[in-house]
């Protein structure tokens, strides 16, 4: 018999308590993983999306919410004219509710007809937007799947009906869940004529950090009310991502703290219940450290079980979440390996932290007194 067998059999001998503890911790692990995984996935996907289209983001200076940023669209050609600039993409963005489908945050983008974004996506049904396509939209495949809309169907946006003329696929989950219409039409609908939310600037020679700074300065010199930041800086400081990240960590910290308390409670109860057994172990010569190690082993075994169940729940949960209408277009269907590894580490940490005090108490039991409990 190996030492671990004793710990395992102690847990297996109390199946209800052990399984409840595992489930409690697993749910906490899964919740933390889903929150952090979704948050990181959101950020990563956002970063990929912007990286595909540019190196710098130009916005209204001092703005906190990207969607409320407003820049004169005449600035685009001026940026395009700067040295070191290869491509400039300007567009307007908004979030709309499609209440008939229970979707309350669908991205709407307005693009010029010749915008690379429109030409880069893959059309799976219908066609792309063209000059003069008023009252018409393209929708991402994920949105089409979630709404059941097809080419030729109508969709109501801003209390107006639009005809779906194309369904497209994109490597970005945001695009896949989005609605594209012509910039001019969205400007009209949002009552922001001649305005764009911002510009994505593709530059040349950005390997040199000095070149990046110089280009940023040149862009900002065009208009004192705009700021230019690199894509990673923009994504990292994006208000929704920051709020999402902070919320995920706060809620996860609470879940982990509750798990530690839960584990502490379970192991203390276990130690109290088994005082007699622990007293016997001490009486027949087990060192305090070995008794402590036994309690820690049991707790770590519970944690490993909880981590396995929790990771499984989280992976399944995120995959299901992707198709949950309220978050369509915002949640990726996978959890990064780094989050899975972190979850395992967190579960082990919870197991160890939750068992330290019970293990210490178990080791301090005096054999003669403890054995009277049996």
């Amino acid at each position: 018999m190996r030492f671990i067998t004793i710990a395992w059999k102690n847990l297996a001998g109390r199946p209800l308590r052990s399984s409840l503890t595992v489930m409690g911790l697993a749910i906490a692990v899964a919740a933390a993983m889903v929150l952090i995984g979704v948050s990181q996935g959101f950020e990563r996907s956002f970063l990929n999306l912007y990286n595909e289209r540019g190196d710098l983001v130009v916005q209204h200076a001092g703005g906190v919410m990207q969607l409320s940023s407003s820049i004169d669209e005449k600035l685009g050609p001026r940026i395009q004219g700067l040295p070191g600039v290869r491509q400039v993409i300007g567009g307007l963005a908004d979030l709309v509710a499609l209440e008939q489908f229970d979707l309350f945050a669908v991205i709407v983008n307005g693009w010029d007809p010749d915008c690379p974004v429109l030409t880069d996506v893959t059309i799976v049904s219908g066609r792309r937007l063209r000059q003069g396509d008023r009252g018409r939209v393209m929708i991402g495949k994920l949105l089409a799947d979630n709404t059941g809309r097809q080419v030729g169907d109508k969709i109501e946006i801003y209390a107006q009906e639009f005809e779906i003329i194309g369904i497209f696929e994109s490597s970005s989950i945001y695009d896949s869940g989005a609605i594209f219409m012509l910039l001019e039409e969205l400007q009209r609908l949002m009552d922001r004529p001649g305005q764009v939310t911002g510009y994505l600037v593709r530059a040349t020679g950005l390997d040199d950090p000095r070149a990046v700074n110089e280009l940023k300065q040149r862009i900002e010199l065009l208009d004192p009310h705009i700021s230019a930041v690199t894509v990673p800086e923009f994504v990292h400081n994006y208000a929704h991502i920051r709020v999402g990240r902070a919320s995920a960590w706060i809620i996860s910290t609470i879940a982990v703290t509750l798990s530690v308390i839960g584990m502490l409670n379970t192991m203390i109860m276990s130690v109290l219940e088994r005082s007699g057994e622990i007293g016997t172990l001490r009486a027949i010569g087990w060192r305090k450290s070995r008794v402590m190690w036994l309690v820690l082993c049991e707790s770590v075994l519970l944690s490993i079980g909880a981590a396995i169940v929790g990771v499984t729940l989280a992976i399944l949960g995120v995959r299901m979440l992707r198709y949950w209408p309220p978050v369509t277009g915002f949640v990726e269907g996978n959890i990064p390996m780094s989050v899975i590894v972190s979850a395992f580490m967190a579960a082990l940490l919870i197991g160890i932290l939750g068992a330290l005090l019970p293990a210490y108490r178990a080791a301090q039991l005096r054999p003669v007194e403890a054995m009277r409990h049996q």
């Binding site: 004793i6 007699g276 001490r282 009486a283 027949i284 010569g285 087990w286």
Partner: protein, 248 residues
Amino acid sequence: MSDVTATSTAADYLVRAENVSRMYPDGHVTALVDVSLAVRRGQYTAIVGPSGGGKSTLLNLLGALDVPTSGRVLFEEQPLSATADLDRLRARKIGFVFQSFHLLPTLTALENVQIPMFEGPRLSASQRASKAGQLLVAVGLSHRATHLPKQMSVGERQRTAIARALANDPMLLLADEPTGNLDSQVGGEILDLFDRLHRDRSMTLIVITHSAEIARRAQQIITLRDGRIVSNESVADFLSDADATTVE
């Protein structure tokens, strides 16, 4: 009251108590008062006396499970108070058999016997299992090796506990009313087992008992009453004083 005689040398004694007293933590009840005794190597000693007389307290002190309020206990002539690692002493040199067996309920008989081996001489998992199997054979329980305590009779549980006590080949076996929960037939089998251990392994036995049968088999009988030794005599002297099936 000590049995220490002029013809015995210190090396003959495995365990000794010198003027040992033990007061309970509340400071009002004294469990043992100025008790002195000596047990030779290979000796079979019975401790008898009425309940509450201090027998178990004395056994706990001799087994390094408790410490005296005053006086001292010596094991192989080393004061326990000066022994750095009492856990190691208990694990390697002393075996305990308890009235209520104190087996771990989630482990089989074979696994229970291996428990002390984790603190004994280094053995591999297979060596531990093999040795435990041999001990179960020795106590006549090889057919119950894979059974849990709840699946065994009380006699089988006690034999498992005895096998566990022998796991690290101790010098001293301490038994606290080992037949107290057993019927006379099973109790007799346990006593026969103790006799064999004493005879075949020259093991030193100290047994607390209410059974005159155990007392008859012992070589030294110590009677405790109200925390004091009231007699310390050979079995012949004891039997001439008491002819009963139970002793107080």
